[in-house]
Amino acid sequence: MAENRVFDIAVSPHVGSSQNTRRIMWDVVIALTPALIAAFWFFGPRAIMLVAASVGAAVLTEWLCLKFMKRPVNFAFDGSAVVTGLLLAYNVPAGVPWWLPVVGSAFAIAVAKQAFGGLGHNIVNPALLGRAFLVASFPVLMTAGWIAPMQWKDGERIDVQACGVPTAHLMESGELDALSGATPLNALKQTFSWEGEPERSEEVRAMLFSKESIKNLFMGRIGGCIGETSVIMLFLGAIYLILRGVLELRLPLSYLGSVALFGWLFGGQGWFDGNPLFHLLAGGVILGGFFMVTDMVTTPVTKKGRIIFGIGAGLLTMVIRRWGGYPEGCSYSILLMNLGTPLIDRYTKPLSFGEVKKNG
């Protein structure tokens, strides 16, 4: 309290705000809860266990780091570590062993956040850097741990239609010998490599872009990371954040708009051939667009800068999806734009009152 006295000496009028870090962070946690329910529904209790392990490891690591650096350990409970832990767990496949999100969370908090000076000083999104760390360290687990949705309930019996991907087609052609549930984006990526068989790849793409597939994507009945699949539940959380005044819409709207535009432009085989709706709903775009692109610490503060950030991240996402080495580019595109944030802020700084435009 003694430090706060410094700020009491300004001249009136003052505008009060009830917003503070703790409130915002817990709001985000509440907004992420619907997706957790969807994860339980589609991937079973296993998903909940992974999320709990991740959140626990994140808070514990935060506490240990603060203790080690002799800072107030209360910061560990301001909710920011919980958000990082949640987001990291939402970004791993449901089929991974329990220690994987624990290692990822510990890295995200200790290296991506606390080593740079703690909340507000990290240059990139900790959860996404944690994910990038896991992908680089355990490529097999992170790209093959997909579980087909509803498998935990139906046991061995797998509803091929429910997976949202044309698995039946792939099974017939001998492409798959077991079903671990390829993600829609994986299937799309494969079609790009069938250069010699335009008909086959066209057929698979038609299935992916079909109404049935879009519906599954929207509900979340697809293979994917724990928290990214159910678009409708993520929307619920986003609406809550908008109502609470936490979400500033420039970032998510410019990002989603950019993904849709470039998805339509080059998201299919040729030009102007992609399905913008598919590219919006598949993969991590909705999760990233509402909960990671909007990270207050690592994105621009200027209004123009936020729009540039969103468009740039959307373009990078689509470039990686179409031509990159990974089926999904959401996390890397946001990380790359995070690094450009100081530069964007610098060039979009609005003029101070009374300042004359240079060369104007």
Partner: protein
């Protein structure tokens, strides 16, 4: 300054990697295993000692204006020697170190010691300085490689330490480029903290 000081200075007090931040390129690139680190350290030490020796020997003959080209010629001679010797007798190590053997020519530790020490000192102290700096460089490489090999492969100098289960799912990033940068940051940070504590204690 005594010979003992010339020798020990390179190992800790003025360690080329940890204190002078020289030789970063091989330090980051070839420390994927302890074996590579030892090989690289030995090769660099060999070149360092002999280049220091020759530079010191000719320090009054070499005109100041062309001293850098002269040093490079001397260093390149010994690097070529090491390159050919290693290729002949240690072909496996030679192929795993690859381009980084010829690149010893531009290793800033060697040029730095030629310019900063051998150029101004007598032959014997220069040789001792070369040995000390070479050992310091090797030590730094081995420390880094220990972390990277242990985390990234579960072994040390080829011996399996962490067991089969770990080796199936190692922390692969440790032997990739990003892991090198992250670990380097932590190691340099650790030495900076030690330095700060020591200075604080002296006051």
């Amino acid at each position: 300054m005594s010979l003992a000081q010339d020798f020990s200075r390179g190992i800790m007090k003025e360690n080329p990697v940890f204190k002078q931040a020289l030789g970063m390129c091989p330090f980051l690139a070839v420390t994927t295993s302890v074996e590579n680190a030892l090989g690289m350290g030995a090769a660099a030490t060999f070149v360092l000692v002999f280049s220091n020796f020759l530079v010191s020997l000719f320090r009054k003959v070499i005109p100041a204006k062309v001293r850098i080209p002269s040093y490079i010629v001397i260093i390149a001679t010994f690097v070529t020697l090491v390159d050919l010797l290693m290729n002949a007798y240690l072909p496996a190590l030679h192929s795993s170190l690859g381009i980084f053997i010829p690149l010893i020519v531009v290793n800033c530790i060697i040029l730095g010691r030629a310019e900063g020490f051998a150029n101004k000192n007598k032959v014997l102290p220069s040789i001792v300085d070369g040995i000390g700096m070479g050992l310091g460089f090797t030590l730094a490489m081995v420390i880094m490689a220990t972390f990277r090999e242990l985390l990234g492969n579960g072994s040390w100098l080829g011996f399996n330490l962490l067991g089969e289960a770990y080796q199936n799912q190692p922390l692969l990033i440790a032997i990739l480029a990003p892991g090198a940068f992250i670990l380097m940051a932590f190691i340099l940070g650790f030495f900076n903290i030690m330095e700060k504590r020591k200075r604080g204690g002296a006051k």
